[in-house]
Assembly symmetry: C2
Homo-oligomer: 879 residues x 2
Amino acid sequence: MPHLYHFEDADGSDRDLLGGKGAGLATMTALGLPVPPGFIITTEVCRTAMTTGALPDDLWEEIAGAVTRLEAKTGRTFGAGPDPLLLSVRSGSKFSMPGMMDTVLNLGINDEVVEDLVAWSGDPHFAWDVYRRFVQMYGDVVLGIEEHRFQGVLTELRARRGIKDDSQLSAEDLKRATTVFKTIVEEHRPGRLPTEPMDQLRGAVKAVFDSWGNKRAIEYRRLNAIPETLGTAANVQMMVFGDLGEDSGTGVCFTRDPATGARRYYGDYLPRAQGEDVVAGIRNALNLDDLATLHPDSHRQLLEHMSRLEGHYRDMLDIEFTIENGVLYILQTRVGKRTAEAAVRMAVAMAGEGLIDRPEAVRRIDPVSLEQLHRPRLPREVGRKPLVTGVAASPGAAVGMVVFDADEAVTRAKAGDAVILVRPQTTPDDIHGMAAAVGILTSQGGKTSHAAVVARGMGKPAVTGAARLQVDTGVGVAHAQAREVRYGDLLTIDGTTGAVYVGAIDLEEPETLPELADLLSWADDIRHLGVMANADTPADAAEARARGAEGIGLARTEHMFMGERLRVVQRVILATSKGARTAALAELERLQVGDFEGLLEAMDGLPVVVRLLDPPLHEFLPSRLELEQEALRRVRAGKPIDDLRAMSDQVARWEEDNPMLGLRGVRLGLIVGDLYRMQARAAVTALRRRLQAGGNPMLEIMIPLVATAEELRRMRAVIEEEVAAAEKTTGLDLQVPIGTMIELPRAALTAAEIALSADFFSFGTNDLTQMTYGLSRDDAEVHFLRDYLDQGILTNDPFQTLDPEGVGRLIRVACEEGRMANPGLTLGLCGEHGGDPASIAFVRGVGLDYVSCSPPRVEGARLAAAQAELNTGETVDSR
Amino acid sequence: MPHLYHFEDADGSDRDLLGGKGAGLATMTALGLPVPPGFIITTEVCRTAMTTGALPDDLWEEIAGAVTRLEAKTGRTFGAGPDPLLLSVRSGSKFSMPGMMDTVLNLGINDEVVEDLVAWSGDPHFAWDVYRRFVQMYGDVVLGIEEHRFQGVLTELRARRGIKDDSQLSAEDLKRATTVFKTIVEEHRPGRLPTEPMDQLRGAVKAVFDSWGNKRAIEYRRLNAIPETLGTAANVQMMVFGDLGEDSGTGVCFTRDPATGARRYYGDYLPRAQGEDVVAGIRNALNLDDLATLHPDSHRQLLEHMSRLEGHYRDMLDIEFTIENGVLYILQTRVGKRTAEAAVRMAVAMAGEGLIDRPEAVRRIDPVSLEQLHRPRLPREVGRKPLVTGVAASPGAAVGMVVFDADEAVTRAKAGDAVILVRPQTTPDDIHGMAAAVGILTSQGGKTSHAAVVARGMGKPAVTGAARLQVDTGVGVAHAQAREVRYGDLLTIDGTTGAVYVGAIDLEEPETLPELADLLSWADDIRHLGVMANADTPADAAEARARGAEGIGLARTEHMFMGERLRVVQRVILATSKGARTAALAELERLQVGDFEGLLEAMDGLPVVVRLLDPPLHEFLPSRLELEQEALRRVRAGKPIDDLRAMSDQVARWEEDNPMLGLRGVRLGLIVGDLYRMQARAAVTALRRRLQAGGNPMLEIMIPLVATAEELRRMRAVIEEEVAAAEKTTGLDLQVPIGTMIELPRAALTAAEIALSADFFSFGTNDLTQMTYGLSRDDAEVHFLRDYLDQGILTNDPFQTLDPEGVGRLIRVACEEGRMANPGLTLGLCGEHGGDPASIAFVRGVGLDYVSCSPPRVEGARLAAAQAELNTGETVDSR
C-alpha cells in the first residue's frame, strides 16, 4: 500500500485511512473546488510508527517523489526561485481533535528563498513575515522551544515602535526578528534548524506524527473515548498566502448558523492574515457581508462552494478559505460542530428541504444532548472571555457563589444562596453538597468522572477537568491565569461548552423547540422499544409524561419512606409490641394508599409499576457509629445516653456487614411479616379508588431481589390474595400483573423457572452489574473505579454503559429462556442504563420491550431507541 | 395400579412403592423365611392422600378382600373365634425414620374376641394383656389420648400389688386395667373406640398414613433431607405373640457388630414379651448365647436366616424376630445402622470375603463420616443413660465445663479450662466462643444449623437440637428432665450419636484403622478427580499430606498476616512516608518468605498454590465503631483520645459500606502499589531457596477476585517480572504456573478471555455463591438463611451444597469455554464445597481436575471422588 495519496487520487470517503482533513481535501478536489494541491500521508504510517517505533524507511523517498509531482503541477520549485513552492504540514485524524495536534506552515524557506520570495511577491514585508513565521513555528512545534521566547521579541519590537499589531511592523523589523529568532533556536537547539527545504519537511512530518502521542492529545482522547490506536494522517499542501497584500485574506465560514441552526451562511474574514491569526483572534474579524463588498467574486464563489459542499455532505459544514491576490482557495472542510438546539433545528429543516430523510434526521442527533434543551442557558453573546474552559460534563448553565466544601454548600443553600461547588474532584462524600449546589466545577476528571456522572444524574450543570484552575480547598481559594477566585465570589459555569466565567451572567430560560416534537414523533414512528420513566412522585410522573414516557417502569416505594415518613417507618421497625407494630403499619398503609393514588392519577391510562420495598430496614435507622459519636458528644456535655444505648441495641439487631447482600428486597417480604402484604394492599386499594373515581389506572406490582423461583411463587401468592380479597369486596375485576426484578445473576440463570410465576421481568442493571462484577458502586467510586478507568483497566464505567460480555450475557440468557418458558412475558430494563444510548442499543438487540429511565432522559431514550432500530444489523455484540 | 400387594406377590426391590419395611417383608417371604403373612398398602396411596386430602374410596374394599385372603391362608378368622386372627399395622417409608411414625398392634380384639383368645391360648393373662395393649395403643396412637393417662393406671396397680413389672400382674388385674382403659377412652373420645375389627383396622390404617404428616416426622425429614413427597406405606400383618408364654419371646439381632464391624452375630432376646417391650428397655434383655440355650432350634434357624439375608443383601442387617410357642418368625429386616468405624471395617471385610467387590465397598461409606474416625470418642460402654439426646451434628466426643456465653468461653479457655458452649442456638457473634470451646451443645437447630455447620468446619464435636433441654442463658441454667445444669458443671457430649451426659466420661483416642487405608487406596484407584487441601501453615500441610492430599490447592496468605504480624501489616497500611512504608513492606516480605518456604518444604514434590492477599485492608485495622466505643470508655475514665481520633481518620479512608464488594483481591494488587509484587517476590524467593536446598518445590501463584481479563493480564505481567528477575539473578529455570480464582459471575461468563492469561482456574465457590445469589453468608446466617431453610424456601444451604442451577451453571460455562480457549487449562475448586460429596459429584460431572478442602475432609473427599466416578451417568444435573 502506498504511504501517501495525492488529493486527486485519494478516496474521500476513507476517513480511516486519510483522517478527516485529508478526506475533506480529497473530496473537495474531486468536486472541482479550488483546493491548493497536495498529498496525504496516511494514518497507516502513523500506526506503523506506533507499533515499530519508527516511520517506514521508504517514506522519505515517496515524499520526495510526491513533492516533485507537486512542483510539476504548480510550476513552482520547492525551496528555490524564481517561483518558490512553500508547503504546509497539518495533522488530521478520523475524529476531530481541535488544537490537540501539531501543524507547521511555510516550509521551504531559508536565507536564499526569502530573497526569491521578495522577488516573486515584490513585497519584502510579506516575505520576511513568512520567514519569521516559519522559524517561530518550527522552533516551537518541531524543536519544542517555548513560544513565549519568540513572543517576547515581538512584544518588545511593537513596544519600541508604539504599535499594537505585528502587521504594522516594517519589513526591516521582521527581518531583524527573523534573525533574532534564528539565534534563539540556535541557542536552545544548536544546529537543529534545517536550511535545506526537504530536511524542514522531514522534521515537520515527524513532528506531526509524534504529536498524536503528546500528553494533551492522549488526555483529549481519553475524555472523548477516541481509541488510541487510530493514529493521525499528515497533510502536505501547497501554501497559499492570505497575507500577501490588500487583495489577500483568510476566513472561516459555516453553511448554517452553528448556534441556532438557522439556515443562513455565517462566517468570519480577516484581510491580510494567515489562518492562525483568525484562530488566535488577534484582530476583530469582518463578516461575510463585508467580504461581499471587498471581493464580490470570491464571495459569490464561496457561497457556491458552500452550497455544493452541503449538497454533497448533506450536513452543515465548517469551511476554511484563503484569498491570495484575489483568488479564492478552500483549505479545509468538515461537518461543523453545533449546539443541541442547532442540531435539532438543522436536522428537521434538512429533512423538510429533502436534503436528508427523516430517519437520517433522527440519526443525526446525540440523544444525550437533548437534556440540555431544557436547562437554563447563557445568552448567545456573553460579551466576555471565559476564565478557564474545562470539560463540558453536564449541560446547562448555572450562576452562584463559590463554595469549596460540601457541608458549607448545604449550609449556604439552606440560607438561600445559589452555590457553585468547586472541588479538585468530588467523591460520594460530597453528594449532599452536590445536591445542594446549582452547579459543580472541578479541576480534575473528564466526562466520566464522579462529578460528571453524578451531576448528569442530578440534572445539574457541571464543568469538570478545568485543569488550569488550581483549587486549594484548605485555604479556600482557586487560581487561574493569575486571577484568584475566593469563597463567596460569583461564578458562571456553562456545562454545555465547558466555559467558566468570573461574575454573574444573566441566564435565559430555554425556548420550547417545535422542531424537537417533530423529531421525536419521527423517532416514535421508527422505534419498537417502549420508553417508560422512573418516578416516585406525581410531579415526576407528570414531567415524565410530558416528555413522552409511556408509563412508570419503576416507582421506588422506599423513596416514599423518607422525610417525615421516617418516624412512622422507625415505629414499625422498632415496635416492641404487636399492637404498636400493627398501628404503625396501618398508618404507613394509609400514607402509601395516597402515594399510589397520586401516581396512578398522574399516569392514568398508562402502566405504573410499583416496586415493593427494596433496601434493608437499617437504612431507616441511624447507624451504630452515628449513635456512638452522638453518645461521645453527650457524655462530654454531661448528658445522659441511655436512650442511645437502647436504640443502639435495636440497631445492632438489624445492622449488617454487607447490607447490599443482606436482608433486603423479597427477603424482607418473606421474613418481616406483613410489610409486603401491607404495600400490596395499599397499592390495590389505590387502584380500586381510582377505578371507582372513573379513572383508568393500570397498576403492576414488582418484587425486587428475587434469587429463586420459590421466593417469587410465595410472594406472588401473597399479592394475589390481596388482589382477590379486594375483588371479592368490590366485585371489580382488578387486573394486576405481577413481575420481578432480574437483578441477581442467579435470577438470570434460572429465568426459565422464574418466568413461570412472572408476568414481566424488569432488569435492575445497577444491582445486576454490582453482583456480576462483585463490586459495590459506591465503594468502588471512592476507592478504585476512577483509577481503573484512568489506567485503562476498564474502558467504560459499567454503571454508565452496560457491560455486554458479562452483565449483557446474563440479560440475553434470561430473555431467551424466560420467553421460551413463558411466551407472554414482558421484558424491560429500569436503571441508569435505561437512559444510555449504547445500553439502549444493546437491549434492543436482545429484544427487550421497554426501558425505563429518569424523566429528563426520556426524550433522549426515545431518540436512542429509534437510532438503535435504524442501526439494526450493524451493532450489538452477540456471543 | 392395585393399592396393596400381599408379601408373596410384591417385588422386594421396589422400595419406592413398598417402603423399606414392606420391601424387606416381601424379600424375606420370597426367600422362604418364616414371615407372618400380610400385605403392604403402597406409598402411592399415601401420596394420593396427600394430594387429594383423602384416602382412595376403593381402598377399603381392597383391604377387606386382602383380609379374606389372609384368613384363608392362615386358617384363622379376623375378629372371631375359634382361631382369631389379630393384625398389626406398621408404617414404613423408603428411608428409615425410626420411631417417628405410628404403629398399631393387636387389632381385631373386643369383648367377645378376648374370650376366644382365652380359649385359643388357654392363657387369660395373655389374652387380657393383648386386649389391654390394644386399647392403650389405639387410644394413644389413633385417638391421641396422652399415654401417661394409661401408664398411671398401671403404675397404681403395680404399686398396689408391690410388683415392678406388668408381666407380674394377674389376669384379673389386666382385665380390670382393660376396663379402666376403655373408660378413659370413652371419657376423652366418646364413642370413638371401635369394637368392630374392620373399623379398628380402618382407624389404624388412617392413623399410620396420617402419621407421615405429624410434626416430629416433618422435623426429622427436614433434619435428614428426606423429601416430603415420598409418603409412607402401611404394612398389615398377622400378629404373632412373643408374650404367649414361657416358650415365647421377641428379639432384635444384627448380622455383624454395628459398633465395631466385627464379624460376629449380635443381638438381644426378651422372653415373654412383645416387640415394643424390647425397644422400651423395660427389662434387661438376654443375648444370643442365652437364646441358644433356651431355644436351640430357633437359634440355629435364626443364624441360618441371618446368613441367608446377608448373602442376599450383601450387607449387615438389623433383624426383628419373635418366637411364638417355640416357633421362630422373622418380623422385619433392614440394612443396619452402624458407626463409621464399623462401616469401614465391614465394607473392607465384605470385599475380602467376596460378598461385595471393591467399588461396592467404596460406595458403602458415607464420606462425611470419615472425619469422626480421627476424633476422641466415648468408650463402647458408657455405663450411664444420657440426660438428653439431640442431633448428631458434628462427630466426636468432648468433655468440659458448661458455659452459656461466648465471651465467657474465651475467658475460661484462656484460664486453661475445657469448655462446652451451651446455647439455644449460635450465631456468627458466637464464633470466638465456639473456637475457644471443646464442644458445642444447642437446644435448637439440626444438622444444617449454624452451630452444626461451624462446628463441623472447626472439626469440633457438636450436639444440636437437644429440644428437651431448656437453656436460659440469662440466668445461666439449663433444665432437662427436672435436672438442672449450671455454669461450671461438667458435661460430656457425643456428636457422633447426639447423646449428652451429665459429668465427665473418660474419652478414648481413636485407634488407627488399617482398613481405612485399604478402602482409600481402592478409592484412589477409582477416582480421576484430584484432592488437594486448603492449608496455610506447615502443620496443616503436614496433616493434609498424611491424609492423602495431593498438594495445597489454597494457601491463604491473609491468615499469615494475623497475630503478631498484624502490627507490621498495620504499619504498611498506615505508613505516612514512602520510607516507612517500604521498610514495613520489606519486613513483611521477609516474614512471607519464611511462610512460603515452610509450606513448600512440607509439600515437597507436590503443588502449592499461593493465593495473593484477598480481604480489604481495613480488615487489618480496628473499625470506626470499635474506636468510638473505646473513645467513650476513655472519656469516661478521663483519658485522652487524640490517638484514637487520628486512627479513626485513617480507618475512615479505608472503610467500606460493603467490604465484600470493595477494594479486595486483585483490585488491591492493582491499586495498592507493590503489595502483590512483594508477595510474588517473597514466594519466588522461597521457591529459589528450596530449590537451592535441593528440594523439589512446586510453587503456583493464584490471583483472587478477577472480574475482567485485563486485571489478570496486568497482574500476571507483574508476577512474571518477578519470576524473570529471579531467573536472571540465579540462572535457575523457575516454573511458576499463574492462575486465577473464578469467584465472580463475570469471571465465569468471560472465562474464555480470562483463560488466555491463566494456567489454571480455581473456583472460589463461597464467593461465587455469595455473588450469584446476592447474599452475604455471614449476614444471611444471622438474619434469614435459617428461616429460609425452615420454611422450605431453600431446600439446601447453598454454602454447604453447591447450587447446580445457578452457581453450577456458571461453573459449567467457565469450564467449557475456558478449556476451549486454552486446552491446557487446569481446573479446580477450593472452598467449603470441596469437602461436600454432592458438590464433588457435581464438579466431577463438569470435568474439574481437582478439589481442595480442609485437611480433616481430605479423606472424605478422596472417597466421594471415587463414588462420583462410580455413579457416572446416574447423576449430575445438566442444563
